[in-house]
């Protein structure tokens, strides 16, 4: 089968709308197709990755733990835009620690989150075959 570069672009906050959750569902299903997958988080999309989400009082399912499982699906490139974090008063420490086991490096645990600046994010976007936006 052809291998294409797929980018999933997340620009929306979680819970207020369903796009973040249904984007994640596409990423999980897409993983079975063995494409070259990247996920981008910019603008309000960076809010999806914050630590400590607790939806108990709004009756909506907390799907944020699923991001930590992405490594098991070989989804290991999560690009997060530095300018988007800064504008929202966030640092890398506010985000979940998401890791994967690198099978080419004796299963060493490595970080999946790659902080990039805006120009680098534009480069990532311009390097794709298929861009799906949520």
């Amino acid at each position: 089968m052809t291998t294409k570069k797929f980018l999933y672009v997340n620009r929306k906050a979680p819970y207020g709308t369903i796009y973040a959750l249904e984007s994640l569902e596409v990423v999980l299903i897409g993983a079975a197709f063995e494409q070259d997958v990247s996920v981008a988080f910019l603008d309000d999309g960076v809010f999806q990755l914050t630590k400590g989400q607790d939806t108990g009082e709004i009756g909506v399912k907390n799907f944020s733990p699923t991001f930590r499982a992405l490594g098991d699906y070989d989804v290991t490139k999560l690009y997060v835009e530095a300018e988007s974090l800064a504008e929202r008063g966030l640092t890398k420490d506010d985000l979940q620690d998401i890791q994967y086991e690198d099978e080419d490096d004796d299963y060493a645990e490595k970080p999946s989150i790659i902080i990039v600046n805006r120009a680098e994010m534009a480069d990532v976007m311009a390097d794709q075959d298929v861009v799906l936006s949520f």
Partner: protein
């Protein structure tokens, strides 16, 4: 105090239907009355009984149906908005020659006049939307 509530967005896609539900529950729990909730725009889609959410998620329609039953809340679905979006009760389905209907128990289809009437007859009106 009497509260009227408008829900303007569909279930699951926007948080509006969840927020409205929690607001209405809190209002009732705190001694207020909520005689009617009006579903407009995509809010009419909350009323479908055909929804099958994942097992580990809330069922928004069932929550509303139960609330209506327990507290005698009139859940009104706007007929004009519902027709565009394919929400029909048994009567409407027959009248329009459609082969199925999909409105859940506890909801009823009626006109926009019910929204205005709610605005007139309640002390406060709150809209949850997008």
């Amino acid at each position: 105090m009497k509260f009227g509530v408008v829900v303007s967005e569909g279930p699951y896609t926007h948080q509006a239907a969840d927020s409205a539900y929690l607001f209405v529950k809190a209002a009732l729990d705190n001694g207020h009355e909520v005689p009617r909730v009006f579903f407009y725009h995509d809010g009419v889609n909350v009323a479908t009984r055909l929804s099958v959410p994942p097992q580990d998620e809330r069922n928004i329609q069932e929550n509303w149906t139960a609330l209506a039953k327990d507290h005698d809340v009139d859940l009104v679905v706007c007929i004009a908005a519902a027709q565009r979006r394919g929400m029909l009760d048994e009567n409407e389905a027959r009248r329009q020659g459609k082969t199925a209907d999909n409105i859940a128990e506890g909801f009823r289809i009626s006109g926009l006049g019910q929204l205005i009437e709610m605005g007139i007859q309640t002390d406060r009106l709150v809209t949850f939307g997008d």
